[in-house]
Amino acid sequence: MDLLEYQGKQLFAKHGVAVPSGEVAATVEEAVAAAERVGYPCAIKAQVLIGGRGKAGGIKIAADRGEAEEHAGAILGMDIFGPRGEGPFRVDQVWIEGGSDIASEYYASVILDRGEKKLLAMVSAKGGMDIEAVAEKDPDALVKRHIDPTREFDAAAARSIVEEAGLDEDARGQAAEVLARLAEVATSEDATLIEVNPLIVTEGREVVALDAKVTIDGNALFRHEDLAEIADTADDPQEAMAKEKGLTYVKLDGNVGILANGAGLCMSTLDVVAQAGGAPANFLDAGGGSKAEAIVNALEVIVSDEKVTAILFNIFGGITRCDEIAKGIVEASAQLDLEVPLVVRLDGTNSAEGLKILAEADLPNLRQEKTMLDAARRVVELAGAAS
């Protein structure tokens, strides 16, 4: 789960990392009132989960009330695209914070290095710009050091990293402290990515986190009540509905609804549908051992997306029993008044029983296919061109 900048900053503040004080606002009126309290100049920053906000026009400095109103009006509701064309990300909230006098801009991060199975701390004196470009053009400017999981990572341990990165001498003590606190955020809040770019030194020689990118491990939310609340506010209606029903659902842009069991098989199903010339509307992993009720729920989520013109069920039963899946399909058809065609491929555990249930139900809009590839071709044909 990714946190918005202001949520990340609140987490930083909780762990003693200095951040500019500010307020979040969802309307122009709220934004102006917040700016009046924060004082001028202030920064008005779009709160979206994508990088490159500044370049996209999502961060503006307001010198007075008039500018605060103008900028908040322009930023709220705008669509921001990521550097690789991701999005659009609609701006529903802005963060208003006091302007900072910047003397130096650094980069600091703590991330989970899957390959090495350790946390990795990275620091650079060249912050405020695209860190991937820095790493590529001037690799020595980015100091990377793994954190020993068996020892405490305190400011003393972090000190050598900031020294090697060549940060201003009078800022090193504070920067080392910040790095240690970021590592503490990682371990105590179950964050797998924490990135601060820029980490600034103010004219008053204070080290402050001016941005925050934080990813929290979704599997650990059970031990973080405050973060779990944030996770409950999914913005897409289908994704919110799926979350409520305990399904793993990701919305995509196409018109072919997909339901498979197992994340790997589901991803593979998206791929074969795309290879057959179709455009998947979603990823939905019904999970292992799905019962009929889960299938009814899943179908309900899929058909609530109006773009869906045909649905593919790709089930290979391991612990999942195909007869349970078939019962679910029959129940869902009775309950949901399904108008779109369903293509079903059932294989694996109890597939004969499952196919028998479907044959007996004789649903008018259901087609069976024997293999995954045939099923993909058929559903693409039935779905027609994505509009």
Partner: protein, 296 residues
């Protein structure tokens, strides 16, 4: 021979008195796995269908000779259960549990490493050596004994490929589900090493998915250390960047970790990559037949 589990496996199941643990543990026994014990704290002295239950894994090692532990414990309690297994004296721990916090696994990973215990998973379907032993939830009916080793991040995708191999008349030495989480015990390289040394395995099928760089690392390793042919399949070509697809590990960050990057890395090292599970299975069968004719 086979790898990880086989005729020498003496299995202890944590949570054998629970619903999942008893269902799969007894299913594994029915397949022929030597299930020697169950463990549930406070229920030592009981029996589950003739299998003795102990309070600790250590007791099951000492008294029943267990050497392989299977973990079915719910996610929030799973890491301590794996730690207990690591310290108990078994040589292999197979963790099926899904949804364990990644930082818990970070600590557990290093504990296993230091103790010299082989950890498979978590969030994996287990290991099956057809005709010998099955530890986990892999449906054994889709796999016959044979010469193809399978190592996979995904469960259902493995069953899909196994079934296609079986229909084409090919079988497996062992099927190892390594799991799709960001931090797992044995990775592709560890399992490729075992298959390379296993005289029964003549060809290896590797099933990967988006996220991390385990496939890219495996490609490098295959070039220098694996003499047996390797066929791969990668899932997730149509996954949008930055979207999480069920497995915590399947997160694309930037350009690396994409299915395309993995496919290219493998192909650059001479590994043939199937476009679909069906094609990967067909390539494996065709390659194996070529080996059979002595063309290599």
């Amino acid at each position: 021979m086979s790898i990880v589990v086989g005729e020498e496996t003496k299995l202890v199941v944590s949570g054998l008195t629970g619903r999942e643990g008893s269902f799969h543990g007894l299913r594994n026994r029915d397949y022929g796995t030597d299930l020697v014990a169950g463990v549930t704290p406070g229920k030592g002295g009981q029996e589950v269908e003739g299998v003795p239950v102990f309070d600790t894994i250590k007791e099951s090692v000492e008294e029943a000779g267990a050497n392989t532990s299977m973990i079915f414990v719910p996610a929030r309690f799973a890491a301590p259960a794996i730690d207990e297994a690591i310290e108990s004296g078994v040589h292999t721990v197979i963790a099926i549990t899904e949804g364990i916090p990644v930082l818990d696994m970070l600590n557990t990973y290093w504990k296993a490493k230091e103790a010299g215990v082989r950890l498979i998973g978590p969030n994996c379907p287990g290991v099956l050596s057809p005709g010998k032993a099955n530890v986990g939830i892999i449906p054994a009916q889709f796999f016959d004994p044979g010469k193809i080793g399978v190592v996979s991040k995904s469960g259902t995708l493995t069953y899909q490929i196994g079934n296609e191999l079986k229909q084409a008349g090919a079988g497996n030495s062992s099927i190892v589900g390594i799991g799709g989480d960001p931090i797992v015990g044995a990775d592709f390289i560890d399992v490729l090493t075992l298959f390379e040394a296993d005289p029964e395995t003549e060809l290896i099928v590797m099933v990967g998915e988006i996220g991390g760089d385990a496939e890219e690392r495996a490609a490098e390793f295959i070039e220098s250390e694996v003499s047996k042919p390797v066929v791969a399949y990668i899932a997730g070509f149509t996954a949008p960047p930055g979207k999480q697809m069920g497995h915590a590990g399947a997160i694309i960050s930037g350009s690396s970790g994409t299915a395309q990057a993995k496919k290219e890395a493998l192909e650059a090292k001479g590994v043939r990559v199937g476009e679909s599970p069906t094609e990967a299975a067909a390539i494996a069968v065709e390659t194996l037949a070529g080996l059979g004719r002595g063309s290599a």
